[in-house]
């Protein structure tokens, strides 16, 4: 009996480490990311603006050296620091839940008056802190304020009750997804594409649809088979999903995941790969086509300047390729010059507004018209997208 007690302590000790290690679930394993943020080193900082009263903090769901989601935000923060000559407080590995509320409360109490939080799960805690600190400015990445109303499962009776010092920011990754779809459609002799996807939520569904439409624009019969992993970060699960898609005949894989597992699996089978988040061609150079990536710097700079000027943006900022929040990564060697030129041209059309990835007619999986010819869906419709377009194989319900 005594001996079993000792075992229990060994177990508990193991549990201590398990527990302490479980903070950062949203990390990625790419080795390096070549993409540097567009931090213009020009000395354009207008001397008239005084940033001494501005105190900026950012809450990270992971760690900045994850070479994925948090890494991209860190690049943006570095750009902000050098542009305004300020120091930004980082709080890392913050679990999404009531502890996040305690941490953000602590930041507000310490006098930080502009706080960014980089994950969807920070919405409720951040809004609560915003109510208690009306002088602070709070910005919720990937958020959507309407989700905070009681109708949607939130805590505020009407949209107007949501604290006005709370804003959200995210971007139209679908634009770069569409462009990456062109590269994939061109690279696929069979027209059978695969997509390793995390969760059946509108953001991911929107990306799959944009990718599919891009691929079909150059490869009309192309299909995209979806495999759900139900995890953002799960190298093993991602690898299994990728291999199952390859086994089903896919010769190009795209992904909405945080690791390079999909790329490595594609590489091993001689297939091609479209990445996400960071520009990590060197993870699997032979498989690499390109990747939709994020550039948060310009948004962080513009928001900090607004707050320093006395305005807290309370809108829902939706960036795009036009403002540079969404970008397309470098091209792999198997993307030929013609395709590159075609993509560059489409990118220019997206940026000048003459083209939008979601333009009717758009058919759903059953061939029913969901967007009429010539119509561009409203942003809110895009943000809530829950159907797959024609040519996607799999269920948008997971």
């Amino acid at each position: 009996m005594r001996k079993r007690h000792i075992k229990s302590f060994a177990l508990a000790t193991a549990a201590v480490f398990g527990l302490l290690a479980c903070g950062g679930s949203d990390t990625a394993t790419e080795e390096t990311a070549a993409e540097e943020t567009a931090a213009e080193e020009t000395e354009t900082t207008d001397a008239a603006t005084d940033y001494s009263a501005l105190r900026v903090a950012i809450v990270y769901v992971g760690v900045p050296d994850d070479k994925g989601w948090t890494y991209q935000h860190e690049q943006g923060v570095l750009a902000l620091e050098s542009e305004l000559g300020i120091e930004v407080k980082r709080v890392e590995n913050v679990p999404e839940g009531d502890e996040a509320e305690a941490i953000m409360e602590g930041l507000a109490a310490e006098g930080y008056n502009l706080i960014f939080a980089t994950s969807f799960g920070y919405g409720t805690p951040m809004a609560r802190v915003a109510v208690r600190h009306p002088d602070g400015c709070f910005q919720w990445a990937t958020g959507a304020k309407f989700l905070l109303t009681t109708d949607m499962g939130g805590e505020y009776a009407t949209f107007g009750d949501i604290p006005a010092n709370l804003g959200t920011y995210f971007g139209a990754a679908e634009e770069a997804r569409y462009l990456s779809g062109i590269a994939a459609g061109k690279a696929s002799p069979t027209g059978k594409l695969g997509y390793v996807a995390a969760f059946p939520i509108p953001e991911v569904i929107r990306g799959i649809n944009a990718f599919t439409l891009g691929a079909q624009s150059v490869n009309p019969g192309a299909t995209v088979q979806v495999s759900w992993t139900k995890t953002w970060f799960g190298p093993d699960t991602e690898k299994e999903s990728a291999e199952s898609l390859l086994a089903a005949g896919a010769d190009v894989l795209a992904m909405h995941q945080d690791t390079t597992a999909t790329g490595l699996a594609a590489d091993a089978k001689g297939a091609k790969w479209v990445g996400y988040n960071s520009d990590v061609a060197e993870a699997a150079p032979n498989a690499w086509l390109t990747a939709p990536t994020w550039n948060w710097g310009p948004y962080y700079i513009q928001t900090a300047k607004a707050v320093a000027g006395g305005t807290c943006p309370s809108d829902e900022y939706y960036g795009s390729m036009a403002d540079g929040m969404v970008t397309l990564g470098s091209f792999g060697s198997s993307v030929d010059a013609d395709t590159q030129a075609m993509i560059t041209e489409k990118a220019a059309a997206i940026i000048d507004g003459s083209f939008a990835p979601f333009t009717g007619p758009i058919m759903d999986q059953d061939g029913k018209e969901v967007v009429a010819a010539g119509v561009r869906p409203e942003l809110l419709d895009l943000l809530g997208m829950s159907y797959f377009v024609k040519g996607v194989i799999g269920s948008p319900k997971g």
Partner: protein, 371 residues
């Protein structure tokens, strides 16, 4: 082969001297702080500032102490859940999964019953439903343990993964009862207003804290003072003696494991009536159920002491989080200090439980073994 001229002998103490019960934990914590200080010095951080900030952030400020008590609410429940089973040598390490089921049980009651009953009735119903769901989740492990002797360590742990998948399923499947029907975003459906408690003032502390304390105290009394508690003690000391005394250990095993599961389920339901108000899928990344195992070990499975160890552990976590906020200490340092203090506190247990002495050994001539 090199010969080591001494060996360390662990001699089990018959009776732990009372003074050691007090001295060992104290020395353990001091040793941990000393170890942490060496680490801080080596990495160039101020020892004094770091410890003061950690203490202030965890205990010595209004936000610090209320956040600590708030976190301890759940950890006391999962701690008592673990310890209640551990003291009978039943290793329910699946409290994490039973907590998930508590979320489901609590949210089910909070949604299904609607906004008709007063909070005073509604909240206890949610807590009971959560506890029942937690108990149901441990039913099969308890059954196979008591009937067939199947390891509950493996079965309860594996069920945790199934529980995590269940949480993802009820939130990410469109049309799920637990999912908000009004949006294509996967959000939990909020429980009735009457099933949600308000926190105290501007703090994040909920009245469920007192429920947790009362539950821990009541179970302490049950174990010390009732016949059921006596049966547990006899079985844990000697299953054979219990058998000869006519104690039905199968039934007691079922009872103890069910109560253990119910306590973790209760912790889950407390998250529903307290801070969350709905099933939030990120809860499965927090590890409160696993933390309960540590809390139990720190309290040496003493159900009353768990109230203290739960608060201390929470304070360490809240204070560690606060280090990042108030100083430039990186998260790794905070995590390292938390780990060191826990490790030393647990390691000190060996000194309390065993008389450790070093015995000189003589060099022996090599003895040739004949084949």
């Amino acid at each position: 082969m090199m010969h080591i001229p001494f060996r360390v002998v662990f001699e089990q103490r018959g009776e732990t001297p009372r003074r050691l019960s007090l001295i060992v934990p104290l020395v353990s914590v001091l040793a941990a702080l000393f170890f942490g200080a060496l680490f801080l010095l080596a990495t160039g951080y101020s020892v004094f500032d770091t410890y003061t900030n950690m203490f202030k952030g965890g205990f010595a400020s209004f936000n610090g102490i209320t956040d600590t008590l708030a976190l301890s609410t759940v950890l006391i429940c999962t701690g008592v859940s673990a310890a209640f089973a551990f003291q009978m040598n039943l290793y329910n390490i699946g409290g994490e999964g039973q907590l998930y089921l508590g979320l489901i049980g609590g949210a089910w009651a909070g949604i299904a019953l609607g906004d008709h009953l007063p909070s005073l009735i509604m909240v206890p119903i949610l807590l009971i439903c959560g506890a029942l769901a937690g108990a149901a989740w441990i039913f099969v492990p308890a059954l196979v343990r008591s009937r067939l002797g199947t390891s509950e360590i493996v079965s309860t742990l594996l069920l945790t993964y199934i529980g995590a998948s269940l949480i993802k399923h009820v939130i990410y499947t469109p049309g799920s009862f637990f999912r908000n029907p009004n949006t294509s975003f996967p959000q939990g459906r909020r429980v009735a207003d009457s099933a949600s408690l308000d926190s105290f003032g501007s703090s994040r502390l909920y009245p469920t804290f007192f429920v947790a304390v009362v539950v821990a105290g009541a179970l302490y009394w049950v174990v010390k003072r009732t016949e059921f508690g006596y049966r547990i003690n006899v079985i844990s000391d000697s299953p054979r003696a219990a058998h000869y005394a006519g104690i039905n250990s199968r039934r007691t095993t079922m009872m103890v494991m069910s109560i253990s599961g119910a306590l973790s389920g209760l912790a889950g339901a407390m998250l529903i009536v307290g801070p969350y108000g709905k099933i939030e899928p990120s809860i499965i990344t927090l590890g409160y159920g696993y933390a309960g195992i540590v809390v139990a070990a720190l309290a040496r499975n003493n159900l009353a002491v768990i109230i203290i160890s739960g608060i201390l552990f929470s304070g360490l976590r809240v204070g560690g989080n606060n280090l990042q906020v108030t100083t430039d200490t990186p998260i790794h340092i905070g995590v390292m200090l938390q780990g060191a203090i826990l490790l030393f506190a647990l390691g000190g247990e060996a000194f309390r439980r065993y008389h450790i002495h070093i015995v000189r050994t003589q060099t022996q001539p090599n003895i040739k073994m004949s084949a």
